[in-house]
Symmetry: C2
Subunit: 213 residues, 2 copies
Amino acid sequence: MAPVRILVVDALELVHEGLKARYAKSLELDLSAYAPTGETMLLHVAAAPPDLVLLDVSLPVMDGIDAMRALHARHPQVKALAHSLLHGIEYVNSMLLEGASGYLVKNGPPEELPQAVRTVMAGGRHLSPSAREAVDKGYTYTEKRPDGEYIGLTAREREIIRLVALERTNAEISAALFISEDTVKTHRRNLMTKLNVRSTAGLVRYAVDRCWV
Amino acid sequence: MAPVRILVVDALELVHEGLKARYAKSLELDLSAYAPTGETMLLHVAAAPPDLVLLDVSLPVMDGIDAMRALHARHPQVKALAHSLLHGIEYVNSMLLEGASGYLVKNGPPEELPQAVRTVMAGGRHLSPSAREAVDKGYTYTEKRPDGEYIGLTAREREIIRLVALERTNAEISAALFISEDTVKTHRRNLMTKLNVRSTAGLVRYAVDRCWV
DNA sequence: GCATCAATACCCACAAGAGGGGGTTTTGGT
DNA sequence: ACCAAAACCCCCTCTTGTGGGTATTGATGC
């Protein structure tokens, strides 16, 4: 068997170097490829498609979820495995719905990556224990979206949530974006419903986790 | 010259492995020691004091700022270098005031670590460019604490800010902690003043960044 | 070419929550 | 004895959250 060619996507190059060092002696994993952002990942895949993309969820600018969507849309044959320290259900669900074949939580035992890669390359799905637990537990506040369905945010909504996380009030946001305060409130309302959160705090956490601030 | 014995403290073991691999050929850095948390770092330092501790700011349970304070209190002779992807002024100032000899932003050029270590071991202070920039720019909202002085949070305040970041309302927090809603509001007020933020959003970001949620 | 839909933007009104001003009392530790 | 932390209180304003709605645009489908 030829080794599985894996493209590591992570904001920290140290993580890539750590993975290379850790699996240097492995005959089944080829971890030589690296991209620091979603954009460079897409360029890399277009130029030299790997067998599998190991994709961090928290990436600057274009985050892991966006990157996953773009990857799946343009290169559906390339497998992808989400890789993150976060194991909140929003992220696990989002990545799986965008086409990831699994969700590997960082800091698991070293044997987990090769196992997960084998499972995924064989057409299966791998979920780390804590990711599976999050999915099983479901959403915390289920009044609004008990289905837990994932809905992508629009560009405008992302602008809004970013400014909310930057401590701006509705009045300031409306001034900054040249829209009325009522419109800002509508966007916040839609965001809270989509993300299944109760308050500003939930919006801020989402934005911070997705590296939008 | 004997190599500088460095204890790497980072939630991700991959970062340690990456550093080891990156500087494997260096004769001046000995990166063999590792601790995943602040507590284990303190045990490690007590048992076998290194020359320098490379301390991440975002650590679970006891975060980097707490760990820095404890390290400096118990082992003032051990140098410490903060190491983080974050370069917000609150973190840079806090780490320096707790006794760090510098602030190294992750993902800088590979030459930066050896340089910083040399500077620090010679008694100097090293700040990565973006950390220096943050300090120079000062706080965003300076009305409240223009001095930018760092004030530690009390245990109770941390409980409060954690619950705020978990989307709890004042009423829910008061019920959870068996205190009155007015007390919760007082704590929030004190927190906002101490952390120099304007709203819940700022509190949530602080709590998320410090891994308190 | 027209229907349809999602995204964006806007509006009113009311309730709930958070923010800011001023305080006081109790408790535990040095 | 002192001090800081923690807890409590009132009052008032501002911001947010929630309940309803409507209008405009631009892209997609048929």
